[in-house]
Amino acid sequence: MFRLILRRLAVSVAVLWLVSLLVFVATLLLPGDPARAILGQQATPERIAALNEQLGLDAPVWQRYLDWLGGVLTGDLGTSAASQGPVTELLGGRIGASLVLLVGAAVISTAGGLALGTWSALRRGRAVDHTVSGISLVVAALPEFVIGVALIVVLSTTVLPVFPSVTLAPPGEPVWSQPIQLVLPILTLTLVVTPYITRMMRATMSEVLDSGYVEMARLKGLPERVVITRHAVPHAIGPVAQVIAIQLAWLAGGVVVVEFLFRYPGIGQALIDAVNNRDVAVVQAITLLIAGVYIVVNLIADIVGIMTNPKLRAEVSR
């Protein structure tokens, strides 16, 4: 088993390296000149050249890539062109704020999706099943900003003004000091992700409930609770883990739009600001970070898949 996990890990590292290459090339292709963006339209060519030299932008491309990669590997993400401070410092607090959103949405949507999917599968063909299916299909069809705006309309402004629609915490204070402002962003992300998990769980669970071993477990006289938790759910989790991973990975990117919508001080906001400011170092750092989350989440899903399947587990250890 460890060999397979190690192999997956090696593949992940290779993918991450490829991503770093792509990110670097993509930022090179970004329109506009960082030095000009910093100095403004009135800058003289001499001053631009001087700044380029100061930022190391006059070196050959491959050398700039190697310098950057070396920096990333040693924890130095470079200097923000806009704030002139180290990127790590700039992102530190924001990563925490975004993580609060991501983890909150991930936990709620995974637990909710699995429970709803199982419930729906157990009541296949009945009204509950059709209702859950219908609602999840409609919600899945809506883009995140529509859901976000709808939530703001319903829960923040006109109908029930309960939750704040923008993040109120003053800069410097952690966002979770006022938990109420987390509700709407987390709810939005949860609503985007849950339908997929629910539908997938319903499908695999239906299949598992029709299997011979679930019928056998019932014929052994086991209580229904044990049949579901011990004999059915563990087999449905494996395939669903892949979908959960894709959804959680999507969260890492989806957070950009949601943070923008709710003016939430996370990495999504930082990315949008950095792109506007041609702040190449910050764009590179955040893109790489999001890619990293993608890869790590998928790796975890693969490992969960291996762990829940003893056949795979045994074949691999051989």
């Binding site: 011979g212 071993y213 019928e215 056998m216 014929l219 052994k220 006289g221 011990r230 045994a314």
Partner: protein, 565 residues
């Protein structure tokens, strides 16, 4: 419930009625009763409702089925009989696994693949409060594993189902059922899919356990030879009704109902009797011209060898010749240096159990297999290993009929389209000639022309297999490969298919390689037998030589373990 039935019988079903949710009757008033220590065989073909009748004894109805009348009651020890179907959810659960236990058809699908087998057996004991402590339960798990002839050590209990062979898995299923010492066990075709040697072991285990613990057993099967081995009494189920019930001896030797007679005569025998195409009305709805001289029981085999070949191949050149064929998957050698010949008009039975390499061999001949060493030649000319490098003429000459007619026909193409396909790709006949050939071939396999425009889903298993045979024969091949073509079919359908193949071989002079695990079919289809074991031909010769004086230990073992009626 009258006093007489409650005193003598452990399991009593009275006038059991089950419908589908759409109102189609599945069981139309089925009654049976089983005494302690008695084995009642419930016999019927697929779709007769036998599994439904068995599961009803546990108060379980599969999705889409509803109980509409009748009752099942069980009696445990000296206690008063309990109605399984009237009981509430909780009481019914208490009965399942402790008083009434179930042994499923497919152990591979019925054991939870993610739980260790020791845990799965222990689970029944735990649920039903067997024993006061975990240690006591653990002792019982060991005891019951030993009873079914499996190792009872800790390491074995920690195995997962996939680490066991099919026979071992089935014995774990039996151990699980007998763990709580039930009064009734329901066995649903527990040996289907097992090799004959393993089947004998499993049957002996079941017989010993039911006798020892005075358990009433309901044994569901379609295999009358197995019935003869294990059952005391037999109930024959047809379309949801018990048409005949009596002692095993009576029903099998002197069946009183026409349907039972049909079933009994369809069972293949090692000595060559049986396997006649059933004479039930409707079976031969499309009689071909040759129907009048259809072969009598068992008369087909033996005639083929001397049938003159119509293809003009010299007498001494076999139509199909395999020499020195070896195939390996990695380090595992599936076939070792296999050589065999089939002459035109002759049928060679390739006999082997699962894993013997028999399917690999026929796939190599067809060009569907893995890369191999050795040669396969057709009328003396060597064939390429892969179909992609064979000529259309070579492809036309070697045709294949697959095991399952349920998966070998494209579900979205009509029968006529499927049968026509090889003509379109392998010959240059025009549309009218192709249509004529398709119609002619469908008539030859006695498939109603009205079925030609239907999709496979609308046909029965036997009709589909006829269509698959028609598809193979439409190109008039010199060599026909039949890979377990009857094993997915009911016995009476098997009989008609075997008859059909014999007749076609005699009329067309096709060389046939008949791959099977069922030695009982030998005298009905084959002229010669090659016995394959572990990728090697351990014995070959004419049917009489092999069956009457087997030279290899393995062949003797197979013959000894084949159930007879």
């Amino acid at each position: 419930m009258t006093a007489t039935t409650t005193v003598t019988h452990t399991l009593v079903a009275r006038n059991l009625r089950v419908d589908t949710v759409t109102g189609q009757p599945v069981l139309k008033g089925v009654s049976y009763e089983i005494a302690p220590g008695e084995v009642l065989a419930l016999v019927g073909e697929s779709g007769s409702g036998k599994t439904t009748a068995g599961l009803a004894a546990l108060g379980h109805f599969r999705r889409g089925l509803v109980h509409t009348g009748g009752d099942v009651s069980v009696q445990s020890g000296d206690a008063a009989p309990v109605s399984v179907l009237d009981a509430g959810e909780r009481e019914r659960r208490a009965l399942r696994g402790s008083t009434v236990a179930y042994i499923p058809q497919d152990p591979a699908a019925s054991l939870n693949p993610a739980l260790r087998i020791g845990r799965q057996i222990d689970e029944v004991l735990e649920t039903h409060g067997y024993g006061a402590s975990a240690a006591e339960r653990s002792a019982r798990v060991g005891e019951v594993l030993a009873e079914v002839g499996l190792p009872d050590d800790e390491a074995y209990r920690r195995r997962y189902p996939h680490e066991l062979s099919g026979g071992q898995q089935q014995r774990v299923g039996i151990a699980m059922a007998f763990a709580c010492r039930p009064s009734v066990v329901v066995l649903d075709e527990p040996t289907t899919g097992l090799d004959v040697t393993t089947q004998t072991l499993v049957l002996r285990t079941v017989a010993a356990l039911t006798t020892e613990h005075d358990t009433a057993a309901l044994y569901i099967t379609h295999d009358l030879a197995v019935v003869a081995t294990i059952a005391h009494r037999v109930a024959v189920l047809r379309r949801g009704e018990v048409v005949e019930c009596g002692s095993a001896e009576e029903v099998l030797r002197a069946p009183s109902h026409a349907y039972t007679r049909e079933l009994v005569t369809a069972v293949p025998h090692l000595d060559g009797t049986g396997v006649t195409a059933a004479s039930a009305p409707g079976t031969h709805a499309v009689a071909s011209a040759s129907d009048g001289d259809a072969p009598a029981a068992g008369a087909c085999a033996g005639a083929g060898g001397s049938t003159p070949a119509s293809s003009g191949i010299p007498e001494h050149t076999p139509a199909l010749s395999v020499s020195g064929l070896s195939v390996s998957y990695g380090d595992h050698r599936v076939l070792r240096d296999v050589s065999l010949d089939v002459r035109a008009g002759e049928c060679l039975m390739l006999l082997g159990e699962s894993g013997s390499g028999k399917t690999t061999l026929s796939q190599c001949v067809a060009g569907l297999g893995e890369p191999h060493t050795g040669t396969v030649s057709l009328a003396g000319a060597p064939l390429a290993a892969s179909t992609q490098r064979r000529t259309a003429e070579q492809l036309r000459s070697v045709q294949y009929v697959f095991q399952s007619p349920y998966s070998s026909l494209n579900p979205r193409k009509t029968i006529a389209q499927s049968v026509e396909l090889p003509l379109r790709t392998l010959t240059d006949l025009d549309v009218t000639a192709r249509r004529a050939r398709v119609a002619e071939t469908l008539e030859r396999v006695r498939l109603d022309p009205a079925l030609a425009q239907r999709l496979p889903d609308e046909l029965s298993g036997g009709q589909r297999q006829r269509a698959a045979i028609a598809r193979a024969l439409v190109t008039t091949p010199e060599v026909l490969l039949c890979d377990e073509v009857t094993s997915a079919l009911d016995v009476s359908v098997q009989a008609t298919i075997v008859d059909l193949l014999c007749e076609l071989r005699r009329d067309l002079g096709t060389a046939m390689l008949f791959v099977t695990h069922n030695i009982a079919l030998a005298r009905h289809v084959a002229d010669r037998i090659a016995v394959l074991r572990g990728g090697e031909v351990v014995e070959s010769g004419t049917v009489d030589e092999v069956l009457d004086s087997p030279s290899h230990e393995y062949t003797r073992e197979l013959l000894a373990n084949t159930p007879r009626m």
